[in-house]
Symmetry: C2
Subunit: 200 residues, 2 copies
DNA sequence: GCTATTCTTGACGCTTCTGTCAAAATACCC
DNA sequence: GGGTATTTTGACAGAAGCGTCAAGAATAGC
């Protein structure tokens, strides 16, 4: 390791993430990334080879940013509370005016998945990871009776991931209105409502 | 009206819709549209002035294509059946291998809303239109007791629109897997499940 | 059949994006 | 301190996209 890198990769990825998040994959050129990150275009090509590897890093940084919140949420005993906390991670992200509207992963899933197989793989993997965490939670909750029986843990998990994506789309489609997002989260939660009287 | 248009506008819009649907707004150039529709680039500029007006027509054609199905769905008396039919409109669209994966409106909402104000307006209007149709349905169903009281019709409406968008994102993210979409629809429906024992 | 009108077609100039490269700069190791 | 490996930087050529335009073609009305 000699001739030494002048930019901070972590910071670069953070800025690139913000750029992709706000403008999407297709609407972000290498020149845009150079502008946003302060790193010269040539340096980015030299270090990473192109746009896709940078997006992959941005996606990982994005996922890492909320991972902790999701883990804490799923440490809750009551499904009602756990899912409320899970959805709140997403609501809070969209409610923060410092963040671009919508959701990076959702945006990428819709418009970059066809551009490069590595992107499709990463998106699929990230989605699956969250689904599996929720599935594990629901499976355990079903076993020890915290969750009404008769619900498929995997389907339930995918349902809540879908809801979180739906919230992001609605957020973007309605010009960043956070109230709509809250309404949706609240209704989604009702799926798990009143477990003591349901499905007996 | 003299020197007469040589292409069929309806057919052109249909092809343009398919192109936007499959590849998104940003990844579709005027040259791509010319290729896809068989209409020369110059003719498209002459007739419509640019890409955005063509997308607006495509969005309208897209919405019109499913409108009937939604209306029929919301003619069902039982909320359970109505929403099942509503979701089935979306499921069936994604299940049809002749269609591109995902959903045009969802894709546009995520990646074209910032490109042109007219697009943002149209998307917002289309989303709102569906939300209002559902809201009317839920409001009426609440009044005459088909729906358990205590649910906000508007929130419920937005929730189901969000679910339909979430299904589209999941469809695209998981490489067109229709089973996942079905699972999600089925779980969403459970929100309205067993109204006779819920929320009394 | 002539005219007026509009669409079609191919071409043009301009801008943006991409990917690469060679020269210059830098800092570590010996 | 010299050598070496690596990054930085600016520049380049080629491709693609955009928007416009002038000339040609076609048709309805007179």
């Amino acid at each position: 390791m000699v001739g030494v890198r002048r930019f901070d990769e972590g910071e670069m990825v953070e800025r690139a993430m913000e750029r992709f998040w706000r403008h999407g994959w297709e609407a972000t050129s290498m020149a845009d990334l150079a502008d946003a990150t302060g790193v010269q275009r040539g340096s980015l090509y030299n270090a990473y080879g192109g746009k896709a590897p940078i997006l992959l890093m941005a996606l990982d940084a994005y996922a890492a940013r909320w991972r902790m919140g999701v883990e804490v949420a799923l440490a809750e005993r009551e499904p009602q509370a756990a899912i409320a906390a899970f959805l709140e991670v997403h609501v809070a992200r969209m409610a923060d005016p410092a963040n671009p509207p919508g959701c990076l992963a959702t945006s990428v899933a819709m418009d970059a998945v066809d551009a490069d197989p590595s992107i499709a793989e990463r998106i699929d993997a990230q989605f699956t990871r969250t689904e599996e965490a929720l599935e594990r939670y629901f499976a355990e909750a079903t076993v020890d009776g915290r969750l009404t029986s008769g619900r498929d843990p995997r389907a339930l998990a995918r349902f809540f991931v879908a809801v979180s994506r739906g919230m992001a789309v609605m957020h973007k489609a309605h010009g960043g209105d956070i109230n709509i997002v809250r309404e949706i989260a609240s209704e989604a939660l009702a799926t798990l409502d009143k477990p003591e009287v349901r499905g007996i």
